[in-house]
């Protein structure tokens, strides 16, 4: 999608403006779809009573010219609270330093996509954010032009100051009250990328001052008058149900106010919405209510609970066997099929087949799951870190039989998301507890709760088979076996779809008691490693250059002829060629071993080259060169942070991330037995952007998937060993360089 500066919008359908009670102008708009026709803003609006029901984002321009932008999307560390307002400010034409950003609340009624997930916030918001800023600017210019009696087109604007043809000037604040009374213009002109003053420039995190001084920003920091704390005893193993419990000891402990059970409302919700069972246990749970967090944690340990386990208590070996059986079996859901792979394999000169395996992974957000709820007869007040506020508010409304308009959900800054906070099982728990005790209460997970009551990245395996005929790859068959759910429908149309004549993607799932879900870059976080390891091995078998093989495949793709194809072969080739140049691919010093990966996911094209050295007899990742085509880079400073974080997260989890089960119980409960990447293991990341004027795409996920493949390919170069299972650190023998064979 090229950036379009003349695109016609029905502004009336997604924007309303009005005057403010205290003076100034308010623009309500919706980022993702048209507002409902009944939505009205009747002046004068009193901001303090605004209930945010009708719009999911607002701009307020005060009479002193200060601009406040209420940013709608949840901030989980991906930077949208900075980058989305930057886009508005650009078209509004104000100085970024005069913009104040506030986290907007949830609108449960009118809008759907107030979500942090899939790296989609910028991509979906791009047009609406620009239109909104430009429309507001045009209204301000129209007001100034009317006052001067000149044509608006004769006026110019710079940083919030409007200049008339004769050189008179008016600030936005001077005309904002008049502007608010004007009709919303039907046609506005957007800036050309060459005119950008904010987009493409570095902007610091809008919360930086609060973060470095330790201000209360996060859900765990939220406090309310009379608030109590809740710690929840959940089934220790997946599939267990509470039978009895004894809270005598806990009730006598300091600060303990009550011990209650929840589960009834959760089961009612599961009955109405069976999918909820995939993220929430239907067992009763014991809840300790205490005056402080620590008292709740301590008393929770003193609860003596009995559990029944009359369903299968699964262990890692079971998952392994089930997934192998799926791969060996014939029951698959075919997600894409081109040509005839079976025939092509039968006719092939050579066939390569490999299987790649990955464990479950917990998300491990640094801020453990938590949520605040206060429920009265009039209102359901929810506050905390959640990636999907609308979905959860809806579920709470259904669970407690409360009208949607009675629910107010406020999002705090979030100490990481990575997919875990999409699910909001903790919101449902908080609501059920608050409904029962009718006090303001915050549910807080211990780290052990957080790791043991997860919604994990599922264990999964890929088996890939390719056929070679007359020096070309003629067939490609990818099979996925995964716990609970399979890849989403776009993935089979990622590279190498379209490049190989006979191509098939099959998927099968084993239904487990263990709750699983999206984990940063779902499926591709492992698939990229599997496929890109396989391509390297294929090139070795074919005795062709690894990078050239990828380019040759890409050149066969006619993306225009197949609208299912998600990636652009041209953009992919460009990132590959840039990565070759920037990383010195093929020209590295003799003690540097390199691994190459190109990948497309989340609408972004990426190539990564890992540089590995052998130190003390083991391979060490020293540097990752990362080339990214995400279209226009809105905030380079924030973008680089996302890219580096994604690369290191990919390196860390493919190296160390290991999580299993024994009779339904997780094998790790805290960082003593679960390893995350740390400072000394972090390679340097060198990032290069492809410069173009294409509409921006998100960066929360796309640099993670290629990293695991890049280091696996580099390790192969360094040690001679190919790694088929993650995490790599679990196989120390394969990390040692192979003994060189000496002949004669």
């Amino acid at each position: 999608m090229e950036t379009n500066n003349t695109m016609a919008f029905s502004r009336r359908a997604f924007m309303r403006t009005t005057g403010l009670a205290g003076g100034g102008m308010l623009i309500g708009f919706n980022l993702f779809q048209a507002c409902k026709p009944q939505v009205k803003l009747e002046p004068p609006v009193d901001l303090s009573t605004l209930d945010y029901k009708d719009f999911n984002a607002f701009i307020k321009i005060a009479e002193n010219g200060v601009v406040t932008i209420f940013s709608p999307n949840p901030e989980i560390g991906q930077g949208v609270k900075t980058s989305m307002p930057m886009i508005i400010a650009e078209e509004l034409d104000v100085a970024w330093k005069n913009v104040h950003v506030v986290q907007g609340k949830l609108d449960t009624e009118n809008f759907d996509r107030q979500v942090a997930g899939g790296s989609q916030s910028l991509r979906h918001g791009w047009d609406a954010l620009r239109q909104t800023g430009a429309t507001a600017k045009q209204m301000l210019v129209n007001a100034a032009a009317a006052r001067w009696g000149v044509e608006a087109s004769e006026c110019t604007v710079s940083e919030g100051v409007i200049t008339s043809p004769t050189g008179e000037t008016l600030g936005y604040g001077d005309v904002v009250t008049e502007a608010a009374q004007l009709e919303v213009p039907e046609k506005v002109t957007l800036k050309k990328p060459s005119e950008y003053k904010i987009i493409g420039k570095d902007a610091q995190n809008v919360d930086i001052d609060e973060i470095i001084t330790g201000k209360p920003l996060f859900g765990l920091d939220y406090k309310a008058d009379g608030m109590v704390y809740a710690a929840v005893v959940r089934p220790p193993a997946f599939g267990q149900q509470l039978t009895t419990f004894d809270a005598t000891k806990a009730k006598g402990m300091p600060g303990v106010l009550d011990v209650v059970t929840i589960g009834e409302k959760a089961r009612k919700l599961i009955e109405a919405q069976p999918n909820i069972a995939g993220i929430l246990s239907d067992s009763d749970k014991v809840v300790v209510i205490a005056e402080t967090t620590w008292q709740a944690f301590k008393a929770k340990e003193a609860i003596e609970a009995e559990w029944e386990d009359d369903v299968r208590m699964e262990s890692t070996e079971d998952h392994d066997a089930e997934l192998n059986a799926l791969l060996d079996g014939k029951e698959f859901n075919t997600m894409r099929e081109d040509g005839n792979v079976d025939k092509a394999f039968a006719e092939a000169d050579q066939v390569l087949e490999r299987t790649y395996e990955a464990p479950f992974l917990p998300h491990n957000c640094m801020e453990p799951m938590n949520f605040y709820a206060h429920i009265t007869d009039d209102k359901v007040h929810l506050v905390g870190p959640i990636q999907t506020p609308a979905w959860k508010a809806g579920a709470v409304s259904a669970m407690l039989d409360r009208k949607p308009e009675e629910i107010e959900l406020e999002m705090t800054r979030q100490g990481g998301g990575f997919g875990r906070r999409l699910y909001g099982d903790f919101v449902l728990e908080a609501a059920e507890i608050a409904d029962k005790i009718r006090k303001p209460v915050k549910v807080v997970y211990t780290r052990e709760d957080d790791m043991n009551d997860g919604i994990y990245r599922m264990a999964l395996k890929y088996r890939i088979k390719a056929g070679i005929k007359d020096g070309s790859v003629t067939a490609y068959h990818l099979k996925e076996a995964a716990v609970n759910s399979n890849m989403y429908g776009l993935i089979p149309n990622f590279f190498p779809a379209g490049a190989i004549e006979n191509y098939k993607v099959d998927a099968a799932a084993y239904k487990s008691n263990i709750t699983t879900g999206a984990w940063r870059a779902p499926y591709t976080n492992f698939l990229a490693y599997a496929e890109q390891s396989f391509f390297d091995e294929l090139a070795e078998l074919m005795e062709v250059d690894k990078v050239q093989m990828r380019i040759d495949l890409l050149k066969k793709v006619d993306a225009d002829a197949d609208e299912r194809i998600q990636y652009s072969p041209e953009r992919m080739i460009k990132v590959i060629e840039t990565a070759v140049e920037k990383s010195g691919w093929g020209n590295a010093p003799s003690n540097v071993y390199q691994g190459f990966v190109n990948y497309y996911c989340h609408n972004t094209h990426v190539a990564e080259v890992a540089d590995v050295k052998i130190e003390d007899g083991l391979p060490v990742v020293k540097k990752v060169t990362c080339v990214v085509d995400c279209g226009i880079v809105v905030n380079p400073l924030g973008a680089l942070n996302q890219i580096e974080g994604g690369v290191l997260d990919g390196v860390g989890h493919s190296m160390y991330g290991d999580f299993g089960f024994e009779n339904g119980k997780p094998t790790a409960t805290n960082y003593d037995r679960y390893r995350l990447i740390r400072m000394k293991e972090a390679p340097v990341v060198e990032t290069y952007f492809i410069e173009n004027e294409i509409a921006p795409t998100g960066l929360g996920e796309p640099t993670l998937p290629p990293a695991g493949g890049a280091i696996a390919n580099a390790f192969k170069a360094a040690t001679g060993n190919r790694l088929y299972q993650q995490p790599f650190s679990k196989f120390p023998e394969l990390l040692k360089p192979k003994e060189k064979e000496i002949i004669g």
Partner: protein, 153 residues
């Protein structure tokens, strides 16, 4: 419950808590100093790092008995307005992604630079190795510590 007198950010505070209550939860729940974060509760992630008599310590693993008569500094007390060179370096480099672990990182870095004002690259990495950043902003943390060391000269 016993009463403890502790000195936090230069002020004497009196708190009534059970003797096993970690300093972390006293700071957060009793004294409203929520800049110090809970991450793991077993001293392995560093999110709860504070200074005890100038030394970086894990507040989740310390009782009030252990800090009697000692001076505790939290992120809120590191400087009045965030002007400490380490905080300023964090801002200049724009370190945070989600931001949750950063108070602990800053407290570790500031105590380290106090004891070692001109560190080598390896010394910085060793000093910061105990603090987990799940967003993996490690390279910016490294650059910020390096910058702070330059600015503290």
């Amino acid at each position: 419950m016993p009463t403890y007198q502790i000195k936090v950010n230069g002020e004497n505070k009196s708190v009534d808590v059970s003797s096993d209550t970690p300093l972390l939860w006293v700071l957060r729940d009793h004294l409203d100093l929520v800049g110090t974060k809970y991450g793991c509760g077993i001293g392995l992630c560093g999110a709860c790092t504070v200074h005890v008599d100038g030394t970086a310590m894990r507040s989740c693993s310390m009782t009030l008995e252990q800090v009697q008569g000692k001076s505790i500094t939290t992120i809120e007390g590191l400087s009045e307005f965030g002007e400490h060179p380490v905080q300023q370096a964090w801002k200049e480099v724009d370190v945070p992604q989600c931001g949750y672990c950063q108070a602990g990182q800053i407290m570790t870095a500031s105590a380290f630079l106090e004891s070692n004002p001109s560190p080598t690259a390896d010394e910085i990495k060793n000093a910061m190795h105990g603090n987990i950043c799940r967003c993996a902003s490690y390279n910016r943390i490294y650059r910020a510590v390096e910058k702070a060391a330059e600015n503290m000269d």
